[in-house]
């Protein structure tokens, strides 16, 4: 049973590295989705482990939040893109406030 846990760790780490090193905003977003997926895999693994459906219910909610996040995040991205015509995340450093 440790195998899916290790796969989940690997996927989360790859997603985190993607967030840290990629400068294309869309790949940055894809890496965040990858981290959400690794959390989902962990939920399913432990739900199977304890023979309990509650973990699957949480996977359902993570899916919903991922869909909402993609919709709003990409809308914000399109809005920003219209202003600056770039996808480089360093060009959006003024969002720090």
């Amino acid at each position: 049973m440790t195998l899916p846990v290790l796969i989940s760790f690997a996927l989360f780490t790859i997603g985190l590295i993607g967030v840290l090193i990629k400068r294309n905003t869309l790949i940055f977003f894809l890496s965040i989705e990858l981290m959400l997926n690794s959390a989902n895999l962990l939920f399913v693994t432990f739900a199977r482990q304890w023979d309990n459906s509650v973990g699957l219910v949480w996977v359902f909610f993570v899916l919903v939040v991922a869909a909402v996040e993609a919709a709003v995040g990409l809308a914000i991205l399109i809005h920003l893109f219209r202003k600056k015509q770039v996808v480089d995340i360093d060009q959006y450093s003024n969002l720090r406030g």
């Binding site: 899916p4 977003f29 890496s31 739900a47 509650v54 359902f60 809005h79 770039v86």
Partner: protein, 162 residues
Amino acid sequence: MLAEAVLGSFAVLSALGIILVKKPVYAGLSFLLTLLMLSGLYLQLSAGFIAAMQILVYAGAILVIFMFVIILFQDAHAQIEKFKAGTSRVLVGVSALLFVLSIGFIAQQMVLPQKSEAVSDTFGTVQSLGSALFTDYFFPFEAVTPLFLVAIVGAVYLGKRE
């Protein structure tokens, strides 16, 4: 166990593809492969409904929006290399390495219980998931509705031209 290993290694390889390939469209396709492999893993873990949801919601909805936006920004992707990077890659690499090491340390300390081979017949069925969603988790399930509504209104508002 073998199926899990094969699916898992393909999932990790295609996830590496997301951050290694040059063109964003290929990264999107690589993510699609990761999603399919994860769906196979869910089937291996006897969560059939979640596997179907994964395909429908992620591959069917989220990835399609991503692809549309990637294609919309087509001309801008090539310009990324023109700008100077704001962060030092060495520092980022060191922090990622430290993260991996700390995760490895935690994983060493963690003792996982043995796999219970006998999983009940109702595990992962639509029936068990539905009864959990409409009894114990009824309020969060209904709270999803206004969340979606707010997200749709926000996305349309942000997306419309000034």
